[in-house]
Symmetry: C2
DNA sequence: AACGAAATGTAGCCGAGGCTTCATTTATTG
DNA sequence: CAATAAATGAAGCCTCGGCTACATTTCGTT
């Protein structure tokens, strides 16, 4: 009844993936709030590359998960939990991009690939990346 | 009407993600074929950590995409395209794991995290990883 | 050869995350 | 201040990838 080793890896990756979209939206809301004072649905949708109903649905999920709040026809704001998550995601993103560049990936490609990769970088891997970057 | 830079990144990541599941199944079918002579639905499901109807659905999609073939109640086999994809995926997976280990990620964690990350590693990033590994 | 177990197929449910279309509210501006 | 434009909401559709439950086929064993 024990899972094969492979299965554990795949289940782990699926769990990480389940968080990915929420992480991206939370970080985007954080960015927009910093830049413009608030995050509007239209701006979120535009920057995420989706239509506005898709952004609305994503925000609804964030609200359900306690990561954001909003009132009808108004901007979206992160809760404390949401803001904490955004900070972690942003920091991880930066480390992943820096690591890619450090091993020779061109900047633009590093930005592109990091977007998908980052969600699967565990704390342990993140620590290893930071250590690698620190020791030049 | 032009996409913001952010949007391009997210769209790119979503496209990569859309391939991820198929890549994983194709590689698994290739592995099982090598180990056992054929890939059975039950074995695929077991190793992927899903129930058998989920594996059946995934195989149906692979067949639609021209990556695999099968007849009712028989094993699954890759087409030439499927086998080619499996080889590329396997090679990329190995490079990603090796790179993670090279920058100090413990082996077991490298295996875990690579599973999700690999699907977002572009050819250019892969080449950079290989160059980095080559120059020790 | 028949029976029971194991494998596979099939149907249908669910949530996530895309989309389009249309209604409604808010904001701008003449 | 009224009309129009822009933003948001709401409804409903699609695919994917999980799942359970049940039907069917294959296979191994007696």
């Amino acid at each position: 009844m024990t899972q094969p080793d492979d299965a554990e890896r795949f289940i782990h990756a699926r769990n990480a993936q389940a968080m990915a979209v929420m992480e991206d939206y939370v970080e985007m809301i954080s960015d927009l709030s910093a830049e413009m004072g608030e995050a509007r649905i239209a701006d979120i949708a535009n920057r995420m590359g989706v239509t506005h109903p898709t952004a609305t649905k994503a925000v609804a999920r964030l609200k359900r998960e306690g990561l954001a709040v909003s009132r009808p026809y108004r901007g979206v704001f992160l809760t404390e939990d949401g803001a904490t998550l955004a900070d972690r995601v942003r920091a991880r993103h930066r480390v992943v991009v820096d690591l890619l560049k450090a091993v020779g990936v061109p900047e633009q490609t590093a930005e592109l690939d990091a977007e998908g990769m980052e969600h699967h970088v565990s704390d342990e891997t993140l620590a290893a990346f930071q250590a690698f970057l620190a020791r030049g």
